[in-house]
Symmetry: C2
Subunit: 403 residues, 2 copies
């Protein structure tokens, strides 16, 4: 079965966020410079739902679903009709373009599932697919898994340019070369930069001209910092049948433990996604989907407070990294930072392992997001004080291992 083995080689998760516990410690002891740096352990590989707790009312919504029983345990594969109707209204308002609960919305087990199903529903073996570098680590793997041909397009992940700094000439060249699908996250993961209105319009116009289907992963689009203008691709004039938007309440809302996501847009693609969901996980999350009733429905002021808290952590970490001479863009949304490291005398993978074993700090290597051997990704949705102290340990470690 060599063909199946090849297929899975591209899916390595050894350095993926959350899987660090499965890594061998290896020769860390021999590489270590200086003593252990003590401090509260911080796992920047994902947000800390103990520091930022789930949306008020989420557990009550879940309990209501258990109480409702079978009606909520067994829904249509694409999710409960009444929850879809509720959500469709709120997503229409949020994105500025109509969503039909009946035809253009599907509920999935986690935002990852929405992404998987949308790529599976649009990419066949041999199809050309444009993805951004750097971008969410699964994008590349998904395209590879379905046998698509990757056409990478760059953003400026190092300098504070306007918008994401998307290389539009590269995007146009890729579309001209026959790209069928363009997949990107906005805000970008791992940098937190937001595409400018002009960039979104340019993507939309190019997609329209070349008949490209666009999958816009907007997982972090609610957590926007002061002064950020956010533009929804689906409201940019691109025909509905060419765009699918992915979101979920796992991040800003800290509902990750409930594993919930949604996709909305092109009815034909949503229908394929439902057919596929039938064999991937059968149906939308049973009781859990009721937690979506709290989504875009939070108590007055709750979201603003959460944004302000994240902005304060962002500002402290950016300051610490910049004072130490590390290059880092200021995230305009979301809770990721993607600082660049100085040239090191150890490999990036070893530095990341040293950070974990010597400094009690878990980060994700930049190589998960593209060919970025000098960067690390941090999810700074953490306890503020612990995050700042861990940021200082990262700086000290970078000094120790500088070449």
């Amino acid at each position: 079965m060599s063909s199946i083995e090849d297929k899975f080689k591209a899916l390595a998760t050894d350095n993926a966020p959350g899987q660090e516990v499965r890594q061998a410690t290896g020769n860390i002891g021999n590489l270590m410079v200086g003593t252990v740096l003590t401090g509260t352990p911080v796992d920047f590989s994902h947000g800390d739902v103990d520091a930022f707790t789930p949306t008020p009312g989420s557990l009550e919504a879940f309990l209501g679903a258990v109480e409702a029983g079978g009606r909520q345990a067994y829904t249509e594969y694409r999710g409960s009709a009444d929850i879809r109707a509720e959500l469709a209204d709120r997503l229409s308002t949020f994105t500025g373009a109509a969503v039909s609960g009946q035809e253009s919305l599907i509920l999935t087990p986690g935002t990852q599932s929405a992404l998987f199903l949308s790529v599976a529903a649009t990419v066949a073996a041999g199809d050309k697919v444009a993805i951004v570098q750097p971008d969410y680590f699964a994008n590349r793997k998904l395209v590879q898994f379905f046998g698509g041909e990757i056409h990478p397009v760059s953003i400026d992940y190092q300098n504070d340019v306007t918008g994401a700094g998307l290389d539009l000439a590269q995007l146009k060249t890729a579309f001209e070369a026959g790209v069928r699908v363009f997949l990107f996250s906005n805000p970008n993961n791992p940098t937190g930069v937001v595409y400018s209105p002009e960039e979104i319009q340019a993507i939309s116009d190019l997609a329209k001209t070349y008949g490209v289907t666009v999958i816009a992963d907007q997982l972090y689009s609610r957590l926007r910092y002061e002064g950020t203008t956010y533009t929804h691709l689906r409201a940019s004039g691109l025909p509905e049948n060419q765009v699918v938007t992915i979101m979920g309440p796992s991040k800003t809302e800290s509902l990750s433990g409930y594993r919930l996501g949604v996709a909305f847009g092109a009815p034909a693609i949503i229908e394929r996604m439902e057919k596929l969901q039938a064999i991937v996980s059968l149906r939308a999350p049973g009781y859990n989907q009721a937690v979506l009733r709290t989504w875009f429905n939070e108590p007055e002021g709750w979201m603003n407070e959460r944004i302000a808290q994240h902005q304060a952590i962002r500002d402290d970490l950016v300051r610490i990294f910049r004072e130490a001479g590390l290059k880092v863009r200021i995230p305009q949304a979301g809770s990721y930072l993607f600082p660049g490291l100085p040239a090191l005398r150890v490999s990036l993978q070893d530095f990341v392992r040293l950070l974990r074993h010597q400094a009690n700090v878990t980060v994700t290597p930049g190589t998960e997001f593209g060919p970025h051997h000098s960067n690390i990704r941090l999810n700074f949705s953490q306890d503020h004080k612990a995050a700042v102290a861990a940021g200082e340990r990262i700086v000290e470690m970078a000094r120790r291992y500088m070449s």
Copy 2:
């Protein structure tokens, strides 16, 4: 994108269980013979978790996980190490062959996901795969989705033979022809028949001889009726690296609303499944997986009572169908019945729609499980009285539409 459209044609869910609400009513009015048959609506497309409620303690286990917070929201992709360790012990005892929580067990969002991941991890485009007819509707679709070549093997779904009545000569021919993977459910879905010890041994011996990987879907293997001998394939002498077993607490335990499943066996396959889970749904169900602590850990006597209640419904329905002259095997386990209908003057699909609109009874057409145009499937995990009355309405409807 014609190749992607072709790929999804094979995934039609129009007649799939639970999706009836999306069907058009069409010309039902013109076909209807006689008046409406009144009675409590019964949806035999799945078990009724209001009639048979979730395992005692399941909600408490869930609440404990929410209380635990981040530790339970974010686990290894394959699931929480301590829950896997607990379960591995119980699954070893249940199946009679060792399971390693660290290396050979993965937790998934629903048993369907375990099935999807195991097929994805073993079947590449062009691979020959043997499946049983009739069998669970997703088996065929999964093989088709991954581009496998289907080699069907029959069981005797009409006569009360010993075991499933597997056509071993057909199985051997398929293996000789180069089949790489054999996928089957035991107890069989839709008939509820259980493979005899001799049949399991024969499958095991053939798989060993021909180097075939076997995926055994044992979702219903705990709900066994009086006098049934159950044999676990994984304890039959087949090398560990050739067998993956799929189970879950959605059925007998009525925990379907929590969407939980497990796969255990060949470490190399489990590892591939985890890599794939990373891009399909990212990680094992967050809080929900804690509900597995109640699994194989139910209160004394609870399972026996549940089995006795199901056996009583089974006996009543088999009697009703047989008295009316419908051919039906007696299920030895699980909660499915697969009665044969007389020749009808309407198509099977129309009869199923008539049942729903005229008699308030939802069933799944036999064509979902293979080329079975004269059968319907019932999940009789229902309120006893309502199920019996609905069974009588099915019989009356069969009389009315007989050709």
